[in-house]
Amino acid sequence: MARSIPRSFVLGLAAGAAVAAFAYACQTTGSHGALDGDVASRVYVAPGEHDEFYAFLSGGFNGQVSVYGLPSGRLLKIIPVFSQNPENGWGYSEETKPMLETSFGFVPWDDAHHPQLSQTDGVPDGRWLFINANNTPRIARISLATFETEEIIEIPQSAGNHASPFITENSEYVVAATRFSVPVPQRDISIADYKAAFKGTITFIRANEPGKMDIAFQLLVPGYDYDLASAGKGPSHGWAFFTSYNTEQANTLLEINASQNDKDFIAAVNWKRAEECVAQGRGRQVAVSYVHNHIGEDRVARSERKSGVRVLEPADCDGMIYFLPTPKSPHGVDVDPSGEYIVAGGKLATVIPVHSFSKMLAAIEAKAFEGEADGIPVLRYDAIIAGEVQNPGLGPLHTQFDGNGYAYTSAFLSSEIVKWKVGTWEVVDRIPTYYSIGHLMIPGGDSRKPWGRYVIALNKITKDRYLPTGPELVHAAQLIDITGERMKLLLDFPTMGEPHYAQALPAELVVPRSVRVFDIQKNTHPYATRSEADARVERVGNTVHVYMTAIRSHFTPDNIEGIRVGDTVKFHITNLEQDWDIPHGFAAMGVENAELLIMPGETRTLTWVPKQPGVYPFYCTDFCSALHQEMQGYVRVSPAGANVPLTSNAPGQVRVAAGGGR
């Protein structure tokens, strides 16, 4: 058959194939698609070696934070924040349940979007990580010594806490602005009253004292959707910028109704001015109630009701807020490392508008206003614009900076990162992402001093990047080298939940803080058992407290009798270990609860209400030692009213007290 094909045709095919192959080779050996030889070594971290950077990726709808090492893309930890985590008992143990309390009650889940590292002088300092809860407005503070959530504050008079927590230069404040305007104060009114009664709020939360996060003041602003934010830095320190969309104030079918205006606004808030007005007693104290949860020195969380917020309206405080007109429903707003340029991601715009902070100040001085919106001066676009990046890709969302004069903007629709030069606004490079990038992140890329070696693309759509896993796929991230003139794809790695924004910083800023064990001598937990000799059982009315210790490879006590149906059993388990990486776990059959993971030196409490008589085994769930399988025990449950005395084989004396239980 081949013989019948004219030779010239075959040659033509071959030539065509060669051309195609050449063209393909040119395309794929360029900086973009393919990986040349040294790429693997760029992300290879040898066994036993450590990564250079910690990266903190929000978990989105899993309500958690994932910790990765860069450049390897290895997952190091998932930190439970707003969502219960049965794996270690977060939100199930008595010590951690109060962390998920809100003014609405116990909320076991949230949608966590934007991690923010604490900063000193505008540079990440490695103390804490903050992250917002979008659904039930909250902000959490995570310690980078323990990698645990230590504090959560609820934001009153808010909804859709999306423009959050975007920190100020010295961690003075984290911010919270409403993506969903709501009736303020909340009340039962018709949704059709949106324009009249729905408001947005912009809240400043004190952030630089652990355990003392507090609502400093709240701005009452027009009922738009406030989307993202960025604090000023350097010369613009003292200001914060918030994008808004739906300046049309639609309350239905926003995809059409909120896309009508040619320009929406960036709200420029002079928070130092707001501080002055608050100090002068302007605005009003509003009696709203919110919740502040905090883990104390004893490692027990307590939930505290707070009330009263200082609310400022624009009319209360002249010079506090201005609107910067910005094309087409802007999404991200990012201030460059110099503090001069405010970059907006107009997601429906054909350009990236860049406002100038100094021009903004001059325009305010010159009163270059084009009007007012709900009493807020709107500056003239031409008076504040520094430049527009042309052909920035379709659907520009977010911008990061490398500290070397370049900006990198994610473009969702064209699924790429676009590199452009700050000042000349010219696009110098672009690289595809897989697929539909949302946020992007350069370590320190939102700070005054970026560590501009890599950018990570945090993508929304995965499709064919990995082996298929049914309809639900992980999200994909790409690590891209930005040290050269052209961006270069290094690594593709799966992520947990749906990362929105992320943060990263050099490992050496975190490693020295890392805690290995909790000092058992400093364990002030009210139900701690600091030595085996104190292990015991106690009955207080219908509550049985088991003061149990765990150390390789036994629990004390490991035989308990005298519990009756109708009792509430509280296992207070203290891990007596003082050795690195020796947690013990605890689980008992039929307990309608999660397990506990107890870190060395720590006490954790699991509550159990047994319903059926029987003998219930319990055991250590975290392989701790060669005799781990022997680390087990039994609890006997007798029928209600049985007269089996409360006993255990622990050295401590059994105590029985009447009373209502604790």
Binding site: V517, I551, E577, Q578, D579
Partner: protein, 255 residues
């Protein structure tokens, strides 16, 4: 390279190479400064050196050794390190003059916890009465050394060095005895891991495999300094023995 721990003895009948003072100006007997115990520069000169008195160099050496001993008060004498795959960060204990501690804050507790598997007694500093007296012994030895240096009597030096060596040997023997006791007298009733014939005595010095742990036993910083001080003291004694013999020899020659 020659170690200049003894003054050079010139060949008989020749001038000392370093132009030593004439023997006529030789040291007065019993003076603290024994002219560094230099032997006669010229053959046949009369030497009036006192065989009972130490040279100035030796006395400085003795004082230095005596003071160096005090380092043992603050620095660990001995260090036992345990090496196992699960302890990349290290695990070890230090024997100090007055206590036994972990190398890191919780190491001793962790060693004891691991030792419960083999039925070893918990190592607790309060179980060692020696730790109550050792600081005083060290201080006493140091004071004695300083007294020897000040008085400059050779016989005192010999006595001091002898006491030093005897106590050092006694200390090592005691250490060995404890290590033997902990390594052999196991609670077989409660031991979880029982291996017939297996003992867990760490070596006095050197390394040894004990189940999954490799134990390394070596002097600590204080121990090394004490060893150096002992060596210096012994050297001082040897030097004085030689000098004294020379003086006696020279006296005999002169006589």
């Amino acid at each position: 390279m020659t170690v200049q721990w003894l003054p050079g003895r010139p060949p008989s009948g020749r001038a000392a190479p370093d132009g030593a003072p004439p023997a006529a100006l030789g040291p007065p007997a019993g003076a603290g400064d024994a002219a560094d115990g230099r032997p006669p520069a010229r053959a046949g000169a009369v030497v009036a050196g006192d065989a009972r008195v130490m040279s100035a160099t030796t006395r400085i050496g003795v004082a230095a050794a005596a003071l160096a001993l005090l380092a043992a008060l603050v620095l660990p004498l001995w260090r036992i390190e345990l090496e196992a795959p699960q302890y990349p960060e290290g695990l070890g204990m230090e024997i100090r003059v007055n206590t036994i501690t972990g190398v890191k804050p919780n190491d001793l507790q962790n060693i004891n916890n691991l030792n419960h598997y083999i039925g070893m007694k918990a190592i607790a500093p309060e179980d060692f009465p020696e730790l109550g007296v050792m600081p005083w012994i060290v201080v006493g030895l140091s004071i004695m050394g300083l007294v020897v240096a000040v008085l400059g009597r050779r016989r005192l030096l010999y006595a001091w060095v002898a006491v030093l060596m005897l106590l050092a040997l006694a200390g090592l023997a005691d250490f060995y005895r404890w290590a033997y006791d902990y390594g052999h007298n196991l609670d077989h009733e409660r031991a979880i891991i029982k291996i017939p014939g297996m003992s867990y005595q760490p070596p006095l010095i050197g390394s040894k495999q004990l189940l999954n742990f490799r134990a390394h036993s070596w002097p600590g910083a204080g121990g090394w300094i004490a060893i150096a001080a002992g060596a210096l003291a012994a050297l001082a004694a040897a030097r004085e023995l030689i000098l004294a013999r020379r003086l006696r020899g020279a006296a005999k020659e002169a006589g």
